[in-house]
């Protein structure tokens, strides 16, 4: 695919690398026993350690270590049995210790790779440089008081994984696909909930431009972009900004920038000269983090099926198309829903119903599949009712609507509303005979316009309230009016 951007002086190539900060799913923080749940009252989940009280010491939470290893394995990456926690020193009111415990030179996870799936059906490999563990900071609140800033330390000390990609992406779409894929893998692994709105997943995006074949240009880092949509917008804006600067004969200045979603623009936060000297050094309160190969192997055994493998299985096992499979696995919840629904029913039909009816309804209701009012089991049951000719496809749509409204299961809906399909051919034949008798003009016109048979089908369905077995209706009509069959 050609991703080049046209400028006044010729084509430009975009180079994008991404650092994702992913909050680890764990009950307690990286170095303290405080709870990590979101949305609690300010400063209610803060231990003496999280508040940086004198004499307090960090103790590593082994669950977070396991989660990082799991994620590393999911990214096909090298797991380092020996890694070091460092202190990153800077002053800020929401950083109680005056330093963040992070990993600098020796991270827990090294090089890896993931495959991203693009909308045009192509895929591409993106390199992972590293993954390391670090603490989150607290939150400064500047809108609570006219003259004071407040600090909420609930997040202080929460475990994050910083996942750094190689500068392998060449378009906003690739960048978006990368973050989506990474998020999806972590959701499959249950190591990060991927919730960008709540800040469980944030991306820092490094963008530079160059003429194709040239060396890398000067990059700017766009900090803390918190939606897939904004990632696209920020890159598009930033690329254009940099190209304009260079084409005007100036140089891009290395900067940290912020994306303003309201204006759709990035603006400078600080230049390279203003950047901090973090004075990294190994945290003397913590021993090096070490574990055995066996420990990693035990974790490897617990790895769930990941999206790429699952897609392949959907194609082979259920005979789905590559395109459909991709849609199903691209959100773990959708694939889970699908597999729950097909336990006793036809996979292809279920897939069509999910991608068609269900998605369109969820879209309208602005709901995600986790909050779907129709249980997967019930959707499967509905499809069975069509498949075994208990109801017609038309009636199925009505049943689906009732399921949405009431949450009732399809069998009892069909029972109580008398929606069963009429399969009795003599009953249908009687109705058809009546229609033929009452509409001689249409019957005569048939010889000229064989398509009018559809009108008869419609009339029959109308008479039976949509319940007539469409196959039987077609057979009888063909026999009676077209002398077929």
């Amino acid at each position: 695919m050609n991703n080049l951007i046209e400028g006044k002086t010729g084509d430009w190539e975009l180079v994008i690398g991404i650092e994702v900060h992913a909050q680890i799913i764990s009950n307690s923080k990286l170095f303290s026993g405080s709870s990590t749940s979101f949305g609690s009252d300010h400063n209610t989940q803060v231990s003496f350690i999280d508040a940086g009280m004198p004499g307090m010491l960090p103790v590593i939470n082994s669950v977070c270590v396991e989660q990082a290893i799991k994620t590393g394995l999911g990214l096909n990456a090298k797991i380092n049995n020996f890694s070091i926690f460092d202190r990153k020193n800077y002053f800020y009111p929401d950083l109680p210790q005056g330093y963040q415990i992070s990993q600098f030179e020796q991270p827990i996870v090294g090089n890896g790779m993931i495959t991203i799936d693009l909308d045009n059906g192509e895929s591409k490999n993106i390199g992972i440089e590293r993954l390391h563990l670090e603490q989150d900071a607290g939150k400064s609140l500047h809108d609570q008081h006219p003259s004071y800033s407040f600090v909420d330390l609930n997040r202080s000390g929460v475990a994050l994984m910083e996942i750094v990609s190689m500068p392998d992406m060449r378009s906003p779409e690739e960048a978006q696909a990368y973050v989506k894929k990474l998020r999806n893998i972590m959701k499959y692994l249950q190591t990060c909930d991927g919730n960008m709105e709540e800040g469980s997943l944030r991306a820092d995006i490094n963008v530079s431009v160059r003429k194709p074949g040239d060396d890398l240009g000067t990059r700017c880092e766009i900090k803390n972009v918190n939606s897939i949509k904004f990632i696209g917008q920020a890159i598009v804006y930033e690329a254009k900004r940099q190209i304009d600067i260079i084409e005007k004969g100036s140089l891009v200045e290395q900067q940290t920038r912020l994306f303003d979603p309201k204006k759709g623009q990035t603006r400078s936060m600080r230049s390279k000269e203003e950047s901090h000297d973090y004075r990294y050094f190994p945290d003397p309160d913590l021993l090096p983090l070490t574990f055995t190969d066996d420990f990693v192997k035990e974790i490897e055994k617990t790895l769930p099926e990941l999206p790429d493998v699952r897609r392949k299985r959907f194609i082979e096992e259920y005979g789905l198309s590559s395109y459909d499979s991709n849609i199903l696995v691209s959100e773990k919840e959708t694939a889970d829903y699908f597999e729950e629904a097909i336990k006793n029913s036809n996979p292809k039909l279920v897939c069509n119903w999910i991608i068609g009816e269900l998605f369109s309804v969820l879209n309208k209701m602005n709901k995600s599949i986790e909050n779907c009012p129709i249980r997967a089991k019930d959707l499967g049951e509905l499809i069975n009712l069509i498949d075994n000719e208990t109801i017609t496809g038309r009636i199925a749509k009505d049943v689906f609507e009732i399921m949405l409204d009431t949450g009732n299961d399809p069998i009892s809906i069909v029972e109580s509303n008398n929606m069963k399909q009429v399969n009795n051919s003599s009953e249908i034949e009687a109705i058809i005979d009546k229609i033929i008798e009452n509409n001689p003009d249409q019957v005569n016109a048939l010889s000229e316009k064989p398509n009018l048979i559809g009108w008869f089908v419609g009339q029959t369905m109308k008479e039976t309230g949509g319940k007539a077995n469409p196959k039987t209706v077609n057979e009888i009509l063909n026999k009676k009016l077209l002398n077929k069959g």
Binding site: G52, P54, G55, L57, V59, F91, P96, G98, Y99
Partner: protein, 492 residues
């Protein structure tokens, strides 16, 4: 009968168990002594109410024979240990209003063995200093005075309040912390016994951090046996401190009086300093003779990287301190100067809250960690530290302990060195390598110099072999027959 403050810890323990006196009587005598010794400025916070209450509880336990190992024994605690509900200042203006809502592991261990808190002891600000002159609460005065003059002497530092109070018989022992010699040097200056345990022997949880990879809590007492008793109750494996050791904790007291026959003592040639006084050389020689006469073998050894220890220490300790002290920013606790600008608030808070020596070390530490200087200073110092540690591991294949002087001189006068940081830092020349190597070491009073002031000898042991150190220390103690202060001039 002796006055109760004349007793040492093990004598008091015996008296309490024999019901010769109650803990309350013992504690009241010590409170009197503490109050009449205020001219020494050893205590920042006196806690007589807490002491009396604890003593009453201890007396009940003693009656019911449910006593802990330190039941009813009054001790002082260096103000670097967080004590729940009791002001804990690190002798800094920065924490002059700080009352911890938690108890350090080490002090908690003592209270659960029945020890009684007399009060919080003065020290150099954030344990940075060798004379106790950097304290926001003013200097501690050494209860010792030279025979020929009247000037006030420093008690050493940073555990100056601990050493002075024990020398003056205010409390049956005291807790100190030792980052580069802060227990052993003041012990040497005050004729007391001070041990820095192996790194990891005592939990650091709840001790205000100076330099995390070097800090270690330890006991200061009037004799070796007392020291071993106090240490036992301080130690524990603490899961709240990752660097705390899970090694078994022996009954150290059993090692006191154990024979040293056939054991080997190393004498490192690098500890002979140019210009060191004859008196120091003489007591070192005496020490060798005592140990030799008790059946030990004396062996000359070499610790070739000793000369790099002091510069190495003065890079690593300030580097860690600069980061450890970043939390004192006026935002959540401690001294705080309000401003409408956060950077101004930091500047004003830290300028006012920290004293000169602390600022000096924060600046050194920040410098050596800065990009462009990290490799030349911090990284190199870490490499040197490994070499020093290797020196000791090699030597300990051949010897069981190392004998050195504790300090290059006896106690000096107040204000004599306070304007000269380098000469102040040189005080720690014999003690600092031990912290870098994480080893246990003790200072035992060995003699009086010509001015009548105490001088100590240092015994350094293998990691977690405090018992061997105590066996040797007891021999020196017995041979030296050191006389404590006779003239209690400071009493009111």
């Amino acid at each position: 009968m002796k006055k109760l403050t004349e007793l040492c810890l093990y004598e008091a323990r015996e008296g309490l168990l024999n019901k010769d006196f109650t803990s309350k009587e013992l504690v009241l005598d010590h409170i009197d002594k503490m109050e009449s010794s205020r001219s020494l400025n050893a205590f920042i916070t006196e806690t007589p109410e807490i002491a009396i209450k604890s003593a009453e509880k201890s007396d009940l336990k003693l009656i019911k024979e449910e006593n802990g190992e330190l039941e009813g024994i009054p001790i002082g605690v260096k103000d670097m240990f967080c004590t729940k509900g009791v002001l804990t200042t690190a002798s800094s203006k920065m924490l002059s209003n700080f009352i911890p809502p938690y108890e350090s592991t080490v002090t908690g261990n003592l209270w659960s063995e029945g020890a009684v808190l007399l009060g919080k002891l003065n020290n150099d600000e954030f344990a940075m200093g060798s004379s106790n002159e950097t304290s926001f609460y003013g200097p501690v005065i050494n209860p010792w005075k030279g025979s020929n003059d009247k000037i006030d002497l420093v008690p050493g530092g940073s555990s100056g309040g601990s050493s002075a109070s024990v020398a003056a018989n205010i409390g049956l022992g005291a807790l100190g912390t030792d980052t580069g010699g802060s227990i052993r040097q003041p012990a040497s200056f005050t004729g007391t016994v001070g041990l820095k345990p192996t790194y990891g022997r005592c939990s650091r949880w709840g001790i205000i951090a100076f330099a995390s990879s070097l800090d270690q809590a330890g006991p200061i007492t009037r004799n070796v046996r007392d020291n071993s008793i106090l240490l036992k109750s301080m130690c524990s494996h603490d899961t709240k401190d990752t660097t705390s050791s899970s090694k078994e904790i022996p009954n150290f007291e059993n090692a006191v009086g154990r024979s040293i026959k056939g054991l080997k003592v190393g004498i490192p040639s690098e500890f002979f300093l140019k210009g060191m006084s004859n008196e120091i050389m003489e007591i070192w020689d005496k020490g060798k003779d005592w140990l030799k006469n008790s059946g030990a073998e004396i062996i000359d050894i070499s610790l070739p990287n000793t000369k790099y220890a002091l510069p190495c220490y003065y890079i690593i300790a300030p580097a860690e301190a600069s980061s450890n002290l970043a939390r004192y920013d006026g935002v959540r606790f401690g001294h705080s100067v309000k401003s409408s600008d956060i950077n101004e608030m930091y500047k004003a808070t830290r300028s006012e809250g920290f004293g000169d020596e602390v600022k000096r070390r924060i600046m050194i530490g920040t410098y050596v960690l800065s990009s462009g200087y990290y490799d030349a200073y911090y990284l190199k110092a870490q490499k040197v530290r490994s070499l020093i540690t290797e020196d000791y591991s090699k030597v300990f294949k051949d010897v069981d302990v190392i004998l050195t002087p504790s300090t290059p001189s006896s106690a000096f006068g107040l204000n004599e060195k306070s304007d000269d940081p380098i000469s102040m830092y040189l005080n720690d020349i014999f003690t600092v390598p031990v912290n870098l190597a994480g080893l246990p070491a003790i200072s035992v009073p060995a003699a009086h110099d010509s001015n009548g002031l105490p001088l100590g000898l240092q015994l350094i042991g293998r990691p977690f072999e405090e018992e061997t150190i105590y066996s040797f220390a007891k021999i020196i103690e017995d041979c030296a027959n050191f006389k404590n202060i006779e003239n209690q001039w400071w009493l009111k």
